[in-house]
Amino acid sequence: MALNPEFVGRVYPSTAPYRVGREKVREFANAIGDQNPAFHDVDAARALGHVDLVAPPTFAIIVSMKASEAVLFDPELGLDYTRVVHGEQRFSYTRPIVAGDDLVVTTTIESIRTMAGNDLITTRGDIVTAEGEPVVTTHSLLVSRAPDEATS
């Protein structure tokens, strides 16, 4: 099913702040098997010049996905989530996310197109602190795969 092209350019208001907790940072780092001391040891993170534990680079996806789910599940968009796969992902860091951050996200739908029956949707998530300081920008391309009969 083709996605509703009227959604291109839509900007969704900032989410409620996401508080980055030390234990969540450690849990995420353990889940990706990464024992870099900056993710686990506050003193080690501070020795590198950070104010608290550093979150792993891909931690930003937790914050941005939470924000974009509301967008992607909007029935008027017409996205069949059971057929969605992650096509591309990019992060641009102004600074790393650190424990103690209160982060809000503004989600923008940048493009919607159809290729070989697959629906492609690109979203941008601008992650900033509650005070408005830029932290990370995420770009995600999601692909809703065409039904099998269209691909064979």
Partner: protein
Amino acid sequence: MTGIAWTDVAVGDELPGQTFPIERVDLIRYAGASGDFNVIHWNERVATSVGLPDVIAHGMLTMALAIRVVTDWVGDPGALVEYGVRFTRPVVVPDDGHGATLAVSAKVTAKNDDGTVVVALTASSEGSTVLGRATATVRLA
């Protein structure tokens, strides 16, 4: 700051490669920590019913593992400026007692005047490339 000096790095330099074993339990742990409970990452019945060969790893887990080659090299993960990938093939994780292996290598492809370098990453599993256009920009000392 980081331990690697920009002046000591040349285009073409290879970073130490790494291999990462991925078992089903790693997908369960990642689902819990990330909140991504998409069924195709833990349920074989559903994964095969939507045309996948078996349960597949979260693309974001693959992305998280691959960047280790860069962050372990520089030491400070906060030195990362940009990181992007395309998910070209899934990492299939069979329930056969050993799972999958992700092999990652990386090479410096550009040096920028602002003190950063661009690193191109290559990630493969069972002989197939799984990430495309995987590049990271990192600030050096």
